[in-house]
């Protein structure tokens, strides 16, 4: 007899873990796109180059977490997935178009003649597609939590709550990216990104508070669960971590600020998952109600540790080689040319 394992829970935990990884890694790449689009000031070109240099080696790997999430959803929770792809047909198509455009534009620009610093058409497309995709992803997450009528789908993802959640996601991605860049950049560029990070943190904080307010009307179940004593602790922890990262960045503890920012958003995602439990889509689709049979789940989930055995050392190597401090932007590295 094999020991009894609650496979649907395991599958859902793995899905949340993939979501967390995508948020922390892929989310920061979206944030990079946002700052690329809104790069201002005398060092705008240097900002863009620093963003491109930070993203270049890692963005494709970061992007795979989303594919994992999709695979986990349709493998582990086919019923909920079925509902999602029909109910959210329009926003998911727009997310897809955004992902295609932003990835392609990023690469096309890197290979282009004009280089990365100057604003260009592909650069604008990269930035705009990154920004819109994040908003849509946030809105989609709100739509599955609010309990709106999925059949009249646009109401669920165009509600004020969904839109505000999307805007929060935008601010959060920008915040994450700017804290990473503050840590990685050198010299005056670091101060530029610090200002951006603080600005985004303020925007994210305000959006989060407003979003909580709207949530109490539009997603009452989620709100009630969030302020329930067993989850409220997590919510307060998010606030604490968020404020902590803001203060750390202000006082130039950049490593700590980066760590606390990533922690704040991770705990926020987990508190959403805890409050959303047992639902994947509220109402109607629970983790257990839409899960695949145990045997199928067991077989697929057994693959995960083997895959991680390959991936974790490889990812460590990638980040070890590239994620120290970025070189100071100067004549030598004027164009981050992929082939150099």
């Amino acid at each position: 007899m094999t020991p009894w394992v609650p496979w649907p829970d395991v599958a859902w935990l793995v899905a949340i873990a993939a979501m967390t990884a995508y948020m922390l890694l892929g989310g920061a790449d979206f944030g990079g796109g946002i700052w690329d689009l809104f790069a201002w000031g005398q060092d705008a070109a240097s900002q863009r180059r620093a963003i491109a240099r930070a993203m270049g080696p890692v963005w494709e790997a970061n992007h795979v977490w989303l594919i994992f999430l999709l695979i986990l959803l349709f493998t582990g929770f086919p019923l909920a997935f079925h509902r999602l792809v029909i109910g959210l047909y329009l926003p998911l198509n727009l997310v897809l178009l955004g992902i295609i455009l932003r990835g392609a534009a990023f690469v096309f620009r890197a290979h282009g003649r004009r280089g990365v610093g100057q604003q260009s058409t592909w650069g604008r497309i990269f930035g705009a597609a990154s920004s819109l995709t994040v908003v849509l992803l946030g809105a989609a997450l709100a739509a599955v939590s609010a309990g709106g009528d999925f059949m009249v789908a646009w109401r669920s993802y165009l509600s004020p709550f969904a839109i505000l959640t999307g805007l929060f996601a935008l601010a959060a991605a920008a915040y994450l990216a700017a804290t990473y860049l503050t840590f990685e950049a050198q010299g005056s560029l670091r101060e530029t990104f610090r200002k951006r990070a603080l600005l985004a943190a303020e925007a994210a904080g305000i959006a989060a508070l407003l979003d909580l307010g709207l949530m109490s009307f539009e997603a009452p179940r989620l709100f009630i669960r969030l302020v329930n004593p067993d989850i409220l602790g997590l919510v307060l922890l998010v606030a604490l971590l968020g404020v902590g990262s803001y203060v750390s960045l202000r006082h130039r503890h950049d490593g700590l600020g980066r760590f606390l920012a990533a922690s704040a958003l991770s705990v926020m995602l987990w508190s959403w998952a805890a409050a959303q439990w047992p639902y994947i889509i509220y109402p109607g689709f629970t983790v257990y109600g839409s899960a695949a049979p145990d045997l199928a789940l067991r077989q697929v989930l057994t693959l995960v540790p083997f895959g991680l055995l390959l991936l974790v050392p490889s990812l460590w190597l990638l980040l070890h080689v590239f994620k120290g401090r970025l070189p100071i932007d100067g004549e030598a590295g004027r164009r981050p040319n992929p082939a150099r």
Binding site: L66, S314, F322, P338
Partner: protein, 436 residues
């Protein structure tokens, strides 16, 4: 336009587009590594130039392959929710293993591409190895899903007692999988090799007969030749597998309308499904029976064994199959022509050889795409062969045509931009040599 048709067209061109890039993802890293390896072992400097140019082109192709592959992951759900509801928990294992392989590839592409100055020369070369393995493995693994759609092992269990369905055995214990994976992987090698040979032959015709071009052509032709010679063998294995698992598809490929013994092999020709005849085909008596079952008098099941509503599109399947076989045959001849010319003094890279080589690239991709059309159109009207109809899998969402138009425009933009940028990568190659 009805929903099903719009969804099929969108899936068709987005998948067909992705395959162009995926093929390079399978074949290209090996060539890049070969060139860098030769330079590493003290070979001439222009091999390093080749490696750098190819690495750059490979990165561009890989990135577009990655985003167009993401599109497919979304589209499977968005366009075919019924299919994913029925088989998602089964085929997930195929996609999950593919994703691991692809992840490995993506990580090391980052290291390889941006690591020229950060890794030692040997370390950099070694970083290329997981790219080769990841590219080949991801293609082979994802084909397990396609193989299952063709020959759905365990589908009866999935229908009647889903709790007992074991995905790993259903996907990787499927006898159709290794055959398809092998044929598809080698087709990718052929496509990469012949396309690069095409590019360099074209450059030489335009007067750029430098060492880089000669070396590039040679490495590409080594891969192309190996693949071209293996293709008929794996193709034969595939044909026999189709005969065993999908007799209706085989009948459509060969326009075998009637069940008969000693069925002829029809070369070329235009099938007329209404009249149930084939016009203008060259018939080799007993050829099909012999190829499919190893005996010239074997009985071959015809389309008459199933209702017309269960037929795939016979002309498309038949003509695609003929084109694939024709292109494959020409590819073998082109490869032989190249080596024969090289062996004979006084001939070498003549104009007529180079012009023939230019044709090789398009031919290889024609073979790849038509082979895929045979596989997927020949599977219709089923999405899961004999189990679930494509019409039952399509999304109930309306107005798919608008989305289709949007994706068509986007892909057109991507395709033209990639071609334009690749031309520049190729042209700037000599400048790179100075920098290196």
């Amino acid at each position: 336009m009805d929903n099903l048709l719009a969804a099929r067209i969108q899936m068709g061109f987005t998948l067909g587009f992705h395959m162009l890039f995926a093929a390079f993802g399978v074949g290209f890293p090996m060539l890049v590594l070969a060139a860098e390896g030769i330079a590493l072992r003290g070979g001439p400097a222009h091999y390093l130039t080749l490696a750098k140019t190819w690495g750059k082109a490979n990165a561009l192709l890989f990135a577009v392959g990655a985003v167009s592959g993401t599109a497919l992951a979304f589209e499977l759900g968005l366009l075919w929710p019924g299919f994913m509801l029925f088989s998602g928990s089964t085929i997930g294992a195929g996609f999950a293993t593919e994703a691991f392989a692809f992840f490995l590839e993506a990580i090391f592409i980052g290291l390889y591409l941006y690591g020229w100055n950060r890794l030692t020369r040997l370390g950099h070369w070694l970083a290329g190895i997981p790219i080769v393995i990841g590219g080949i493995a991801s293609a082979a693994l994802v084909v397990s899903v396609d193989a299952w759609m063709q020959h759905p092992v365990g589908a009866a269990t999935l229908l009647r007692a889903p709790a007992a369905a074991a995905p790993l055995a259903m996907l990787f214990g499927n006898p159709h999988w290794p055959v398809m994976a092998l044929h598809a992987t080698i087709a990718c090698f052929a496509a990469t090799g012949f396309t690069l040979a095409s590019v360099y032959a074209y450059g030489m015709l335009r007067g750029r007969r430098d060492e880089v071009h000669k070396a590039g052509l040679k490495i590409a032709m080594v891969l192309a030749t190996g693949a071209a010679i293996l293709m008929p063998l794996t193709g034969d294995m595939s044909g026999k597998a189709v005969a065993a698992f999908q007799p209706t598809k085989l009948a459509a490929m060969e326009s075998q309308f009637r069940t008969e013994t000693a069925a002829p092999l029809r070369i070329g020709g235009l099938p007329d499904p209404k009249a149930r005849t084939v016009r203008y085909a060259l018939e080799i008596p007993g050829g099909l029976s012999w190829l499919a079952y190893g005996s010239g008098s074997a009985k071959v099941q015809g389309l008459d064994q199933v209702a017309t509503s269960d037929w795939p599109d016979v002309p498309v399947t038949h003509v695609s199959f003929q084109l694939m076989v024709g292109a494959g045959t020409l590819m073998v001849l082109i490869a032989l022509y190249y080596w024969w010319n090289l062996r004979h003094r006084g001939r070498g890279l003549t104009g007529s050889l180079l012009r023939t080589l230019v044709a090789g690239g398009p031919l290889a991709f024609l073979a790849l795409e038509t082979g895929w059309v045979v596989t997927e159109v020949g599977r219709q009207p089923w999405v899961v062969y004999g189990v679930q109809r494509t019409a039952d899998a399509v999304t109930p969402v309306h107005d798919l045509f608008g989305y289709l138009a949007l994706y068509a425009l986007l892909y057109l933009l991507l395709g033209t931009t990639v071609l334009w940028l690749l031309r520049r990568v190729e042209r700037e190659a000599p400048a790179l040599e100075e920098a290196a």
